[in-house]
């Protein structure tokens, strides 16, 4: 074993899984250095949960190998389990008993001495803002409280590696920010976090490295900055109902992308006040009025269209590869690890732009 392998909290190569003839994971490689946050980003059905389930010993892979905390996933499953904590997408709390009893259950299953268990539990309940409701049945908790209890239960055994499967899906914004704070604290304490999410923003906020999973394949890996560079810039969209006005605007404005059927124009823009004013001035001077003006910023949809469009040149010639190679500990190294995307970007920019975000300006 090389020294690099030992520094990796998670080292997986060629993971495959299919259910019947449906391939869920089509050979993915994941390398997560200890003490970092790794985010697996992807839409519903991309295979994120399957990846977590495999890496957390819940299900077995059809192919590939993985070492978690230095232990082989299959041969040393129990040692892997002792090193990890898992908070799945669906709350894994016992609703029939109280929050505190749930925590005690975990302490007992981790064989903590009575006094130490009590201390750890009191501390965690306090930290996760659950002390007040600790004596109430967990089934009466709100979604955010359940999720916090879920994570608190995971932490009772002080796992070195934590898997969080969509920890903020379904949470309100306040709970989401609380969850982010919790994750940041975990990492500052040296824990390795493997996080799945559908939200680019979440990965952006938390992750050192992000891998984009689509259709069972990793289509890109890199830091948030590197991924964003793949995405065509934001734009302003103008929608018309009057074809004549649409034509006038199309001739008056330069650099637009036309959609004659929908009568919409797209103008590349960063959405800044200055650019918006310029566009409005152009429209005024041309004497046309758009029915709707909306500002679109790049979002996950754009990343996906950029990375997974059908006109991507032969994928096999530019496969996404793990980049956590020896020596490169920094996640924002100058060697952009992103494969396959640049060529796709230009070909797909129109399409991706059309699918962009939804911040409508009134």
């Amino acid at each position: 074993m090389t020294t690099t392998d030992q520094e990796l909290a998670i080292a997986a190569t060629g993971l495959r899984k299919s259910y019947g003839d449906k391939t869920v994971l089509d050979g993915i490689d994941i390398h997560v250095p200890a003490g970092t946050v790794f985010s697996l980003l992807g839409p519903n059905g991309a295979g994120k949960t399957t990846a977590v389930n495999i890496l957390s010993t819940l299900i077995s892979a059809d192919g590939g190998q993985a070492r978690i905390a230095g232990h082989d996933l299959v041969a040393e499953a129990q040692a892997v389990r002792a090193a990890i904590g898992v908070t799945g997408q669906f709350s894994a709390v016992d609703g029939l008993i109280t929050g505190e009893e749930n925590m005690l259950l975990m302490a007992d299953l981790h064989h903590l001495p009575r006094a130490e268990g009590r201390r750890v539990i009191a501390e965690l309940l306090e930290r996760f803002d659950l002390a007040e409701v600790a004596k109430k049945p967990a089934s009466t908790y709100s979604g955010g409280m359940k999720r916090r209890l879920d994570i608190a239960m995971t932490l009772v055994g002080s796992p070195r590696i934590i898997f969080l499967d969509e920890p903020t899906t379904g949470l309100d914004p306040r709970s989401r920010h609380t969850m982010w704070q919790i994750i940041r604290e975990l990492v500052s304490g040296g824990t390795t976090v493997f996080l799945t999410t559908q939200y680019l923003e979440e990965a952006d906020q938390l992750a050192d490295r992000i891998a984009v999973l689509n259709g069972g394949r990793l289509v890109a890996q890199g830091s948030a900055e590197e991924l964003k560079r793949l995405v065509p810039g934001g734009h302003v969209r103008l929608r018309f109902s009057d074809p004549a006005a649409y034509e006038r605007a199309a001739t008056a404005l330069r650099e637009t992308t036309r959609d004659d059927e929908a009568l919409t124009l797209q103008i590349p823009s960063d959405g800044s006040q200055r650019e918006l004013r310029a566009i409005l001035d152009w429209l005024d001077s041309a004497g046309v009025e758009a029915d709707e003006l909306s500002v679109h910023t790049p979002d996950l949809d754009d990343v996906f269209f950029a990375l997974t469009g059908s006109s991507v040149p032969d994928r096999s010639t530019a496969p996404a590869r793990p980049t956590g190679s020896a020596g490169s500990t920094g996640s924002t190294g100058p060697t952009g690890p992103i494969k396959s995307a640049q060529s796709a970007q230009s070909a797909q920019s129109t399409e991706s732009a059309q699918s962009a975000g939804k911040e409508t300006v009134r």
């Binding site: 299900i59 799945g88 669906f90 709350s91 894994a92 029939l96 008993i97 007992d108 981790h110 064989h111």
Partner: protein
Amino acid sequence: MSAATHAFRDNLTMLRRNLLHARRYPSLTLNLLLTPVILLLLFVYVFGDVMSAGINGGHADRSDYVAYLVPGILLLTVAMTSLGTAVSVATDLTEGIMNRFRTMAISRASVLIGHVIGSVIQTLTALVLVLAIGVAVGFRPDATPVEWIAAAGLMALVSLALTWIAVGIGLVSPNPEGASNIGTPLVMLPFLSSAFVPVDAMPGWFRWFAEYQPFSPAIETLRGLLLGSGIGTRNAALAVAWCLGLTLLGHLWSKARFNREPRR
């Protein structure tokens, strides 16, 4: 600590969890007791005269029928409470807590063993309740202390066997409602046994099944023990063989199902 002590502690922890459920939600168990108790009252106070005339050759004496009926009702109670286990195992599976247990470095068997032992303890408690009601309606057992111990042991053994089967049912059920449905045949079996009427009174083509299915030998043995009428070695041996067989079968089945990959 050795692996064995770890496993033992995990078993205790899981047992505590299941007993906590039972203590926190006694209504779940009490609901299951409703059927046996209602049937007991119905057959004693409503059908009692007809039934006793049936087993007594025309002479109606309700207290005779109470004596005949109560052992059957006790084993029906065992069947009903085991159905509760199937439902609670299925509930665990839908709650996501089972997946948490699977990703922890604990003794996997403890998850099931906790359910089984917890359920047997619950069943024995329930039996004390039903027996008390039986006594209240006129059941007068005349068992010796040894016979009482043997009777308790028999009921615990039946409970163990049915609970392991119930755990398997819970594990294959898509949801708690499903567990309740799939478990129904288990609860129906006592009705097709000698619990309510003697096997001799049944039509010939059915008698063979009624006589040898698991409940009849157990019921006959329990009757013998509680009423001091002798147990007959054949019934006792058959009952114990059924229990051990079903325990082994249920245990292997549950273990295999539990070690399978979870449903998605």
